[in-house]
Symmetry: C2
Subunit: 226 residues, 2 copies
DNA sequence: ACCTGTGAAGCTGTTCACAGCA
DNA sequence: TGCTGTGAACAGCTTCACAGGT
């Protein structure tokens, strides 16, 4: 067994925990900026909107990085969470679709700052190709495969219209990309080795509408019943 | 007991089910457009990427709308799912922040088409106020409260920079909005009566990075072990 | 024969409550 | 005393497998 690396802990971190780590990380980075050296699970839980026991259990999956009676060292925890999330290395991202959404993504500050480098912003529309967006020049979708290989793209972002999404996804997959972030309102078909995450604006609205309706119905019943 | 309304079923639909209903709805609408009158749970599950038993259980929460031996009537199911999600009525939406993301949202076709009307697109920057976006004129954030009251806004969308988000949210809440969709990378503080959903682009990327790293580590171990 | 609707089992995630350490 | 780390109980979700209509 090689022994130079510190025990990177069990790989079996629950999905639910993984989804919360970025939230903790952001809060911790803000604490660093404000020069706060230490934080308790109770306080960190409050600022991130979770239960403190849950937060402790989440962090315990990475290792025992807290000190009983004191709390967590902010800077150390930032490093450990970053490492666990794979943010100590850089990830190359290609964004396909330079419409409103693609441009918004390219301009989104959070990308560059946190270990994500936008290698390319591509579009199929000749009128859009050549435009400058966020320090990038929009290039044509034709070169998708070249970009993936030459720049070592490991995450593909699909910000195309729904009709084009599956085609773009297939090209990503054939070129070797195994992580896809999909903003198009379609269910993508991929081999099981490929990881797809979906962000769907209208679904979020519909979920809100459901709850809004329930609140309205509840009030109406409340008037009838009491 | 009043009897004119059809039994709208138990209000206790699981969150996980609610989150999938919009996906089913989209698939069903596409079936309607293609003139397909009937679909089995197996087929609908395949196109939406879920397990067929899960789909049946999800739909069973709305009522018994299928026919054994046949499947589900597409048009009828579209109606029932729409009704359950509250999409048979219109919801007024106000988008705050007319930067790249706000404009992308305003231009997003899925909004208007599915029972969501954009009542206003507001921004705090005087240079942006007055611009035309997707048939709307950007107005100043100052009138947020007026818009909410006058137009009957029930869903507020926050597409501002992080620093402005909590302030905008507070104003929404004070004006009576109880559903908020937040795109800013902050945890919003709201009273428990208010429903907040969050969409965070960089969190999605970080989750992908975690899995990408795990795949990479796995390969590396594979090389060492075998 | 076919397909829905659902009890039951199993799994994942959350919360409680406290042992154990600083 | 204060706070972490965690077993144990609990709650919610998924999947299986099949009873029960058509």
């Amino acid at each position: 067994m090689t022994s130079s690396t510190p025990p990177p802990k069990d790989r079996g971190i629950p999905e639910a925990t993984v989804a919360r780590l970025p939230v903790y990380l952001r809060a911790l980075q803000s604490l660093t900026e404000r020069g706060i050296p230490t934080i308790s699970s109770e306080d960190l839980a409050a600022t991130t909107g979770v239960n403190s026991a849950k937060l402790r259990k989440d962090l315990s999956h990475l290792g025992s990085y807290g000190t009983r009676g004191v709390g967590y060292d902010v800077e150390y925890l930032v490093y450990q969470v970053s490492r666990e999330l794979g943010l100590t290395q850089d990830w190359c991202v290609a964004i396909i679709g330079a419409g409103n959404l693609g441009r918004a993504l390219a301009n989104y500050g959070g990308f560059g700052s946190r270990g994500f480098r936008i290698a390319a912003l591509l579009d199929a529309d000749p009128d859009v190709v050549g435009l400058g967006v966020a320090g990038l020049t929009v290039r044509h979708t034709d070169i998708l495969e070249d970009v993936v290989v030459d720049e070592g793209v490991s995450i593909g972002v699909i910000a195309t219209p729904a009709a084009a999404a599956q085609g773009v996804c297939d090209r990503f997959v054939r070129a070797g990309v195994t992580s896809v972030l999909n903003f198009a309102p379609v269910v993508l078909n991929v081999p099981p080795t490929v990881d797809v995450r979906k962000v769907d604006l209208s679904i979020e609205l519909q979920i809100l509408a459901f709850h809004a309706q329930r609140k309205a119905d509840g009030n109406r019943l409340g008037l009838l019943d009491g």
